[in-house]
Symmetry: C2
Subunit: 193 residues, 2 copies
DNA sequence: TAAAGCATAGGACGATCGTCCTATTCGGTC
DNA sequence: GACCGAATAGGACGATCGTCCTATGCTTTA
């Protein structure tokens, strides 16, 4: 059931919500993208809230998988945090075109005061708590959450400005600074021991 | 003609675009906020593009005034840049509720691929070039634009995350870090002489 | 083959959108 | 007091929105 209609709808909605925004994407858009009628769409999802909730759940699951994979692949917390920073490089093109999928959805749902706002924030919280854990493993028990929030904010700012100016060299320069900042964090933690 | 209907419309639209977003704000919303009929509204602004363009022009003018005032009031570039950073403190409440007015509009119009996207970006560019000038005055001729962009991105990131989590202590902590970063910039430039 | 249920198509519905048109009112001028 | 342009009100318009209903296939099961 990988290519079931329901899965196709979720995939198309996920993509359109990212590229056009949630409010700007209509049932007709999604149905057209999948190649089905609006009536059939309604058979699978009764309300727009429901499809949004499902898309967010998928993003949560995908994010958890990605973070788990980094946890399994990378040898230590420093390399794991570097994996996070390097999303900005790997998704450079998409980010310049449409911004960060996490940040833009949170910002839009906040402005709409939408019911699913907290659910969208949870995707960001997934990164927040994961980063928190990595900084704790790095020896920053006391300020682990502050460091995680700092890194989140830096990434979001880079994505937003890169999206506005469509500037890829800016992303590269900022990522390098972030990696330097991370090295300084490591040095500070080993120094404190 | 300070309180003319046209001025009232622009003020109401500016506020509603900020709080609800551009796309989510209808002519009816603005007309109701001003207390006039939709027909009268159309007498002053023929299209939604036109009202958006006017609102952005007002924001550009207001931003220029603010930057000019900082230029006149503050004694040197460091204190001027500090004024920029402190917007995050002064507008803490509004930013937590609705995000940064500059960044959220740029992000929304980018996602809509709206005609006025470049105009919205210009507000951000106003800060960018102003900050650029301050960093040049600080002795950072070579990397003035990179520093300006860095500061822009940091501010935008702080605003976005603060908006998502409605966390004011996070804003305070990050602003303090920004001011430290600025001091380090000053030290580096005086050291290089 | 008949029955049953899932999946799909197509359109109707009320509401709201941006836009536009037409009266009507108001304020100042000969 | 007649006149005229600016300002305002109210509603009509086509389109699109989310939602919902119904009829028609398609597939499986007895």
């Amino acid at each position: 059931m990988q290519n079931s209609t329901r899965e196709q709808i979720i995939t198309a909605a996920d993509d359109l919500f990212y590229r056009q925004g949630f409010e700007q994407t209509s049932f007709a858009n999604i149905a057209e993208a999948v190649g089905i009628s609006r009536g059939n769409f309604y058979y699978h999802f009764k309300t727009k809230d429901e499809i949004l909730k499902t898309v967010i759940q998928r993003r949560l699951a995908n994010t958890r998988d990605m973070l788990d994979q980094w946890e399994a692949e990378s040898s230590g917390p420093v390399e794991r945090i570097r994996s996070f920073v390097r999303i900005l490089i790997g998704n450079r093109g998409k980010i310049m075109r449409h911004g960060c999928p996490v940040g833009t959805l949170c910002a839009e749902l906040a402005k709409l005061e939408h019911l699913q706002r907290d659910a969208a924030n949870e995707v960001m919280t997934l990164f927040r708590t994961w980063l928190h854990r990595q900084f704790v493993a790095l020896g920053h028990e006391a300020d682990a959450d502050a460091l995680a929030m700092h890194l989140l904010a830096r990434s979001q700012g880079i994505a937003l400005v890169a999206n506005a100016y469509q500037d890829s060299s800016f992303v590269d320069a900022e990522v390098e600074q972030l990696l330097d900042w991370l090295d300084a964090c490591v040095a500070q933690s080993t120094h404190a021991e």
